[in-house]
């Protein structure tokens, strides 16, 4: 019957769109995780409704981020031994952490590209070579400037209140300052789990560096216990 094609196949409880997006995320997860984990995840994703909704929640991502962060922090320490006063150094650490986060994102999102191109812009503006800066932005932003979305038939969303909050939110997410609502929403949907992962990784690092006894507690940071102490540490 012709109508059967319109009715979504009731295999899972999800809707079509959710199923498509969960398939996409499942594919991404399998690519990023090891094969053993991937098999478990793929079987879980079909049956469980509480599947991890983003690759930012995986332990692999967090470990990748933490190791890169450590490298970056050592560079910051070496380069700022005497030049930067203590109040500024926190800012330098924050910027390095953001940069490592953007690298870990592999440049697939607007905010990660914006963070990386901002660093390039600053570097090249100093030596007054604006041409190079333009090339960097062209590769990163040429796709962004294309009028990809046009908001039509929106009744509520043209409210000035929504527009104002969109601008504010766009100012908070890097690279989304003048973007439209759907773009800002999509970027924020990826940016928030990334920030949460950044907080988890940096908290674990701080706990490790400041003694290590508190990191095994499960009080508010249940993930941290899994994160670095799933295996017994080697004999140092």
């Amino acid at each position: 019957m012709a109508s059967s094609t319109l009715i979504p196949n009731p295999v899972t409880n999800n809707t079509d769109r959710a199923r498509d997006s969960s398939k996409r995320r499942k594919r991404k997860k399998i690519q990023r995780q090891s094969s053993g984990n991937g098999r478990d995840q793929s079987s879980q994703n079909l049956n469980n409704s509480n599947e991890p909704i983003s690759p930012w929640k995986s332990d692999v991502q967090q470990q990748l981020y933490s190791s890169k962060l450590l490298q970056a922090l050592r560079q910051v320490r070496q380069s700022s031994a005497t030049s930067i006063k203590p109040p500024r150094r926190g800012r330098a650490v924050h910027e390095a952490a953001d940069r490592v986060l953007a690298v870990t994102a592999k440049g697939r999102t607007r905010w990660s590209r914006a963070i990386l191109t901002n660093k390039l812009k600053l570097k090249f503006m100093r030596s007054n070579r604006k041409q190079r800066g333009m090339v960097a932005t062209a590769t990163g932003n040429s796709r962004l400037k294309k009028p990809r979305v046009s908001i039509s038939r929106l009744k509520m969303k043209n409210l000035p209140a929504v527009q104002k909050k969109t601008r504010v939110l766009g100012g908070l997410v890097p690279g989304c300052r003048k973007q439209s609502l759907p773009v800002v929403l999509e970027e924020a949907t990826d940016y928030i789990p990334a920030l949460e992962m950044q907080v988890r990784a940096m908290t674990a690092l701080v706990n490790l560096l400041s003694g290590g006894s508190s990191s095994t507690s499960v009080s508010g940071a249940g993930n941290l216990g899994h994160f670095s102490f799933s295996r017994p540490p080697p004999n140092l």
Binding site: Q71, P147, R153, A161, V162, E186, T189, L195, P233
Partner: protein, 91 residues
């Protein structure tokens, strides 16, 4: 506006409908910590945007705070300890 007419000639993927926006809003709403506890079906976009702004600001503050602590701790540890930690983490 003529620009709107020319834009409508583009592929269907470039037209964002209300449904897609609602979908994005509800996805974002899932990520927010406070609203997650109360299962509310009808979420106003304004409320979600507001909560998102404040949540991102609080996350930024937390990262700021953590970077301050990290920068202080980096003084006290020497590089050998950092490399030990790195090898521990990469296993």
């Amino acid at each position: 506006m003529s620009s709107r007419r020319s834009r409508s000639r583009q592929s269907a993927a470039s037209m964002i409908t209300d449904d897609q926006i609602n979908d994005l809003v509800s996805k974002l709403h899932q990520l927010l910590p406070e609203i997650r506890n109360r299962c509310s079906d009808k979420v106003s976009a304004t409320r979600v945007l507001q909560e998102t702004c404040s949540y991102i600001r609080s996350l930024h503050r937390e990262v700021d705070d953590l970077s301050e602590r990290l920068s202080e701790l980096l003084d006290n540890t020497d590089s050998t300890q950092a490399s030990i930690i790195r090898s521990l983490l990469m296993q």
